[in-house]
Every structure is written in C-alpha cells, then in structure tokens.
Symmetry: C2
Subunit: 322 residues, 2 copies
C-alpha cells in the first residue's frame, strides 16, 4: 500500500484538495467552494465528504496517513482558524478538532497558513530538501512568508510567526492592505508592482510607455512583465525597484536568521532574472560583511499549479516525522 497524505488549501472562494504521495506527486485533485456565509460545521462536513470521495477515486492501493491544511490565519498550535478576514467563519474555529471527528483513524491532522505550508512543501519536496535554515517568500496578491530554523517551521509564541510581508520598508510609506504604512507587501506584491508602475508613469510623465494606456484597475503584473521584455523603460524600472524593495526586506530577514537560502514563489518570480538579479544585488548591498555572498536567492521548485495542495500535504508528512 502506498502511503499518501491529503493537502487542503482553503482560499477565500475556493478550497483545493489533493491526494499527494511522499515524492510530492498529486494522485488526485479537485475543488469545492469555500462558503461565503454560514458557520464552519456544514463546510467541514462537506469537505470531509469530498476528501473521502477523492480517496475512493484513486486508482491505486493507498493508505491515507495524514491531512495537512493551509488556511488564512491558521494557528498551528491549536489547529484553529482565528478571525480570518477573508472567510465567513466568525471567531475561532477549532478546525482540526472538528475534522478529526470525521477522520477518527488519522492522527496526523495539522493546519497552518498557506505561506508556512509552502515553506514546508519546499522542505519536503522542493529545493530546500536537507536545508535546516531557510526562508520562503510567496509573492502574489499579498506577500506571505514561512521561516525555517533548525529544521522546523517557526510558529512563534502564538502560532502566527512568519509575517515578513508586514515588516516596514519605508517609514510612513504606502498604505498596506492591513492598514499599516510602508510594509513590504505594499511594494513587492503584484499590486505593489502596479503601484510602482503608476508612480513611475507620474514621475516621468511617460506618455510613450507601453503601460500608459492602461487604467489602474486594468494594469497587472503580467502586462508589466510583457512590457519589460519588450524593452519598456518604465516596466524595466518597476522590476529594478521591486528588486530594490524586496532586497532590502530579505536583508532584514538575513540579519535575523542567517538562512542558507531564501526561496521566492509566485507570479512575479516567473520574470526570472528581471526580478532575481535586482533582488540579489540590493540584498547584498544591505548585508553585513559576514553575510555577503553567502545567502542563495532561489526560485521555488514547487509546481505553481499544485503548490498550495502540495505544500499543505507536506505539513502532514512533517507531522509524521515527529
């Protein structure tokens, strides 16, 4: 019998579910809607039914040994989802305890946030195999992070550590989605890149830029990438500045934790050297001599399409390691 774990990634609108083997292969996957109203009870019962169906539909002889869940405001210590702003569940939901009632035979059921799950995915299946100290930054609508120290995810005193997207890069700088000012996420997320593009269009009065015909609500980071590849100066400077901001932030992480590597995941990383080169250059500029030239900045090796469920499933494998 092939041992497998289930990965569940709970997003604001969709919940992705996958059956994953120890090498990170996805044997089966699917989606259910995350409810936009109501309590967690019915949702968890629906989720359990979908998981059981999916387990039955795998065409191999499998044994499910764990379930890992990635969820916003997921608290690893208590297995709870706490006051998640994008989910309809109110207050503190004892998610793991409720799911354990549906799967009484499975001990290894654990929950954390999506960026932490991605970091564990990188450690179990990806480029961080064998690394004891590394960080993972996920760049998308927001910026998440997962930190690994001495081979373990850092959960901190309350289960919520690893929110590097909300470190301050620029005092009194851009308004962040969280209400704070000047946070890394406000500069280095995909919307942050768009904001940088609009600042540069304004600064240079760049009527001839390929980005100059797009409204604020139209422009996205893929358009900025395409324009940069075509040589558009504003778009190229967006990548340079995004690298400058992210490099400053990653240097702060290095000064905290001295990781062996920092992995970058998410849409903007598809731009390759356009983003990695300035990130590396600017990070190095900020580092103490003792750290210079040591810390690798690497693209995540997780398959972008499956990373969320694969990362979550890795959390269950990590539990089984002890």
């Amino acid at each position: 019998m092939k041992k497998v774990t289930v990965g569940v990634d709970i997003g604001g609108t969709n919940t992705a579910i996958g059956i994953v083997d120890v090498d990170g292969n996805v044997l089966e996957k699917g989606n259910i809607l995350t409810p936009d109203h109501g309590d967690a009870g019915k949702y968890i019962s629906d989720l359990a039914s979908s998981i059981k169906e999916m387990i039955n539909s795998v065409n191999e002889d499998i044994e499910v040994v764990g379930i890992g869940i990635g969820a916003p405001n997921g608290n690893y210590y208590n297995g709870t989802i706490e006051h998640a702003p994008n989910l309809s569940f109110e207050g503190v939901v004892p998610f793991v305890d409720m799911l354990k009632k549906e799967f009484p035979g499975i001990d290894a059921i654990a929950l954390t946030n999506d960026a932490n799950a991605a970091a564990i995915g990188e450690m179990i299946y990806g480029g961080a195999k064998g690394m004891k100290n590394f960080a993972m930054f996920t760049l998308g609508t927001g910026v998440g992070s997962g930190l690994v120290v001495n081979g373990d995810l850092v959960y901190g005193s309350d289960g919520f550590a690893g929110e590097c997207g909300h470190t301050t890069l620029v005092p009194n700088g851009r308004l962040c989605g969280c209400g704070g000012l000047g946070h890394l996420e406000a500069y280095c997320s995909a919307p942050g890149m768009k904001r940088t593009a609009f600042e540069l269009l304004a600064k240079y009065n760049a009527t001839d830029s390929m980005l100059a015909d797009k409204s604020f609500n139209e422009l996205d980071s893929k358009m900025i990438y395409d324009a940069a590849v075509a040589g558009d100066k504003v778009a190229l400077e967006v990548f340079e500045l995004t690298g400058m901001y992210l490099g400053q932030g990653l240097a702060d992480t290095v000064h905290h934790l001295s990781p062996e590597a920092i992995f970058l995941f998410g849409g903007p990383t598809a731009a390759g050297d356009l983003i990695f080169k300035p990130v590396r250059e600017h990070m190095e500029k900020h580092l103490l001599p003792v750290f210079k030239g040591k810390v690798k900045i690497l693209p995540s090796e997780l398959d972008a399409g499956n990373a969320a469920i694969v990362g979550s499933s890795a959390l269950a494998w990590k539990e089984l390691e002890g």
Copy 2:
C-alpha cells in the same frame, strides 16, 4: 561540591572572567587585558592561567563543569572567532579547540557573540526563564540582539544569526558603523541617540536647550537622560524618536518570530518609561492586528555590572542541558 561554570567576556580592551553558580551568583570575578597585538596563542594561555587562579581562589568546594565565552564575531558552531574587527587576532581563531587543550577535563566549552550570550543569560537566570520564544536587544555603543525560538538560540546557517541592529529602518538613512545606511544601530544605540539630539538641535535652532552647550564629542546618552528628566524638550524628543525607531525595528522582529517578549538591556534602558513607553506605543502601531497587545517589552533582569560574564557562563549551562 557546588557545580559552577566560568563566564568569559572578550571585549576590545578588557576580558572579564567570572565563576558563576547555577543561580547566576558570581562567586569570583576579575579582568585581564585583551591584547592589542599578536596572535591568540599567548592570550589563550594567559586566559587559561587566570581562569585557573580564579578557580583556586574561590572559598567554596566547587566543580567547574563548563566554560562559556562571549566574543565579537564568535561562531557558535565552530567555536571560532572570525575576522573580529576590534580584536588583534587575524583570520579565523579556533578558540574553543585551543582552550579545550588547557582544560582537558571540561567538555562543555562554547562560544558565541556577546548579545547571544546575554539572551541565554536572560533565559537561564533572568526574566525569560521558561520562555520558549523571545528576543533580547542590547543597546550600547552598538545594538546587538539574540533570538530564541523553540527554546534554542537562533544561530542560523553559519553561526552568526541575530544581527537585528543591522536591519534597515530608513532607506538611505544614517551611515552605520558597518558602512550600511539607515540601520537600526545608527538610530537606537547610545551614539544614535546623540545623533538624534544633534539633528533636533539643528532642526529647532534650539539655543536654549540644555544640550546646546555640548560638543558632538562631549555629549553622551546620560546627559540626554538628565536633560530629559529636567524637562528639556529636545532631550524628551530624543527619547520619543528613539522609541519610534526602536518600536519600528521590534515590530519587524515580531513579524518574523512572534516572540512572547522582547527584553531590552543596556545604558539607555535605565531611562525607564522615557524609553519603554514610546517603544511600546510605536511597536504596537506597526503590528498586524493578530500581534497587537500580545508582545511584552521588558527590561532585562540581568545585573548590568555582571551581565557579560553571567551571560557567557549561561552558555555553558545551556550546553550542559543538551
């Protein structure tokens, strides 16, 4: 027989040595000069002689079970002092191995930098007893830090983690002693406070400030404290701004590690609420809702006069814990 450890704190000019019991009581202490030239061989042999003399002069029946050393650029993993800018030893000195030859009966000999040693001191003897996740910031000529995650000091991939004094608070800001720009140390160290005072004197043309008759080389943080207590507006604003800067930096640490508490140690902390109040206020302002009101900012409970040797001795006790 009372078990004791030896704490050694290597500074640029002085090396402090102490015999410390498991409760942090200093049974005996003394100093030797740190050499300003020459290699480490003779110094280590002198240091060993002094330690042996000191052990013999203790008026109790003691057993020395470990030696802990705090040293600039001390690498815990290798027991080496590496390219320390303030010490005369060139290159990489295998300090622990050399000292072990002088004390063949003692297995627990370990070395790290002084701020890491202070953090372990706080954990073994001080206010962090029983805490698994906390941070320690030492404010003095520079700003050092030691980070504890899951009950262990964070050494990172290379042994040098925990340099939060060199995170960037202000992009392209003040020149730091390390050559970087805008680092926390350039704002929150004792000299950083002096720099803030001079900026404010200039900003307000504050000829009537109690600080206005001191030259840049005369003014120190104690004078700023005395002036603040006497109600001097510039001096009061120095504390407010120092708290603002430090609060921003500590929030970054919270977003990384979500510690239960952050301990502050060093001269400027003697100002009590003058510094702690703005630090707490400004840190809170930067925190994500999930962290607000949770993280304690506390004064170190280590005795300032003995903290360096006591912290170093704690490293040896920590080794013995396994």
